[in-house]
Symmetry: C2
Subunit: 402 residues, 2 copies
């Protein structure tokens, strides 16, 4: 087990009607002038926004609305939010929505006390970011889609729409003060959205499970497996009944625990599937979870030989593959095939050619262009932990995902 530091101070307030506690939770956290950031649309129509705003009024809090978030949250909206917060002297930011609203709230929260351009926190030259945030504004979350885990994570992903760049800024100051999670709010999510969410949740622990470490992490192995097994069984339950409260609730909390750092304690991470997918969704505006359903199996097929032990563990403990009389390769590839079957069963693509957003063939030129954009995470110019991938490797993974 590697040395580690784990901090997850976000208070989770989970269950039916918990959004009615929002005003109290903000007041407890010391907020008085609140930016209420949301995606409009269903949040308004469903009456959720009114219920939350009423709870703010009941506590005598002042608030200012900012809506219009889209998937893959845009930098331009972040700038608009910072401006509004400065004008209204906001001291607390409430995000009502999923990962996009939360991430743009986090960027606004970091940008508010910062004199420079908030985008400096997101871009790097040769692996060195331009600037590191030291202050932020307290954030609370009312979660409506369980997927990104952003409600308790230290991460923030923003897309610069002009430059077609999707970039992240991970920092503990990004962690929300509280996350209010009412599983009933996720019940009306369309099956495709639900499926994408489940892949994203699983992927956050895949990235922490498929790492270079060979043994020594029994606890985090088991915690990751708890996430995988919960997601898979609850996904099956939701295919039967999309309004299964317990299945929605278990997935919602799994979302939070899969990305607050818990499942990665004592080991390094990989994250190359995420970074490769970021370029796919940056290029074609595909949904992140669907992109992961395409990239992850291809990545697994390409890298498993660099740590067969952990892939064998996953294949047998999670995917239920019987190893008797089979080679490691057979076991692992059977497990990956079973994962693809599971993704397909949820209505997701597992090849780029199956994605409606991608018109025509993805050319080798496009693959190379995306591969070259993938964020470098290692000093030697590669990305990933289990296997360090160079541009050629990434193109090969795209080819496997074609």
């Amino acid at each position: 087990m590697n040395n580690f530091c784990f901090l997850s101070p976000t208070k989770l307030i989970v269950g039916k009607d918990t959004e009615l506690q929002t005003g109290k939770a903000i007041k407890q956290a010391g907020g008085s002038r609140v930016l209420v950031h949301h995606s409009g649309g269903h949040v308004k129509k469903s009456g959720l926004l009114d219920r939350v705003l009423n709870s703010l009024k009941e506590e005598g809090l002042e608030y200012f609305e900012l809506d219009g978030v889209v998937p893959n949250p845009r930098l331009s909206l972040v700038y608009k939010g910072i401006e509004l917060c400065r004008k209204e002297k906001v001291d607390f930011i409430l995000a009502i929505g999923g990962g996009s609203v939360i991430d743009s709230s986090k960027a606004i929260a970091m940008g508010l006390p910062y004199e420079g351009d908030v985008w400096e926190f997101f871009i790097e030259d040769n692996g060195v970011v331009h600037d590191v945030p030291t202050k932020s504004t307290p954030i609370g979350v009312v979660l409506t889609i369980a997927a990104t885990g952003s409600e308790a994570s230290n991460s923030c992903v923003i897309t610069n729409e002009e430059e077609k760049l999707k970039r992240f800024c991970d920092n503990d100051i990004n962690r929300p003060v509280f996350a209010i999670e009412n599983p009933e709010l996720t019940m009306s999510l369309p099956p495709f959205q639900t499926a994408c969410s489940i892949v994203d949740i699983m992927s956050h622990s895949f990235e922490r499970y498929f790492t270079p470490e060979k043994g020594g992490n029994e606890l985090s192995d088991r915690l990751c497996e708890a996430i995988f097994l919960t997601c898979m069984s609850c996904a099956e339950a939701l295919l039967e009944n999309p309004r299964d409260y317990d299945a929605r609730a278990n997935i919602m909390v799994a979302s939070t625990l899969s990305h607050n750092g818990l499942t990665g304690i004592g080991r390094s991470g990989d994250w190359s599937s995420h970074f490769i997918e970021h370029e796919l969704s940056g290029e074609y505006d595909v949904t992140h979870g669907a992109g992961l359903a395409v990239i992850t199996p291809a990545w697994m097929k390409y890298v498993w030989r660099d740590n067969p032990e952990i892939f064998m563990k996953w294949a047998t403990r999670v995917m239920g593959i019987c190893p008797e009389g089979k080679s490691q390769e057979q076991v692992v590839l059977e497990a990956v095939a079973a994962l693809e079957v599971f993704f397909n069963k949820l209505g997701l693509p597992t090849k780029m050619s199956e994605m409606p957003e991608i018109k025509g063939e993805v050319t080798e030129e496009a693959m190379l262009r995306m591969a070259k954009r993938v964020r470098i995470t290692n000093n030697d110019g590669t990305v990933g932990g289990l296997k360090k991938l160079n541009t050629e490797d990434i193109v090969n993974i795209f080819k496997l995902a074609k």
Copy 2:
């Protein structure tokens, strides 16, 4: 899944040499005048105390030592600590040790800003405690024994030695600011101590797993099972090699996660095995973990029919019992027998008659005396969740544990 609120703000700093970060962590938490509470003995002789005190000196912190803690921490020492803190105007309490030192530190921390007698927080009449703490003093922990999970929990257990009463006070203000966990510090623990610790860790999730809920908690089921499976496999590894770093590390972190509330999210608790054991160790001064190894299997045999589903899940997923062609009773009793075999293999008793501290037979009179003292947790005068136990039930459990 039941509605729940989960907060675990304790920063975990885990790994080799992490005790050298103690001074920095205290300073970061705003401490300047520190009560250093420890058990003396091995903490001194091993050089740990010096290493920690040096890290305090390096940060320019003033400190005052209080030692002499014994297992089942005593109220008298708590009073002494409060007095010392008041005299020296202490603003931070550092516990170096295991559950006893941490719990007496928590009691000192609560008592320091309180005008009345701190014992009022621990005692109740008919289920109503005399007073509830609203303030405490920040605490940090350098953990030397992984067992009670007190390093991140909200709980505090103190024994009033004059009245032979072991009582608890659970409150979120008890949660330490940080817990420093160097697994190497636990390597020299004798096998019996190690074994008792492992049972205590498992028990904290048994109490959260064997609850009245029938389904709906896939995630916390799996999280509990992660704790059980990790403890069992690492315990086996330590029988082979007591200095197995990874096994010690996984057990140490499992200890923290098993009692910070994580494994109990979305469900009620039971806790009757703990409360029954508290009376056993209050009466005979047996080690808590050994007492649990005796009480838990007896409790399981007595109550399993009230929720066979969860016992079947545990028997098949954790204890590896094959259910085919067997009745539920056979499966569950086989699993309980396997648990007893596991405890025995660790060198622990599973009957009161096997405990060296208990001289002669435990008479029915003694059983009744202990049963009558067990803390009531339900309005109807019973204890427990999965099955509500009255005095007669508790005596029956003692009889099964005889």
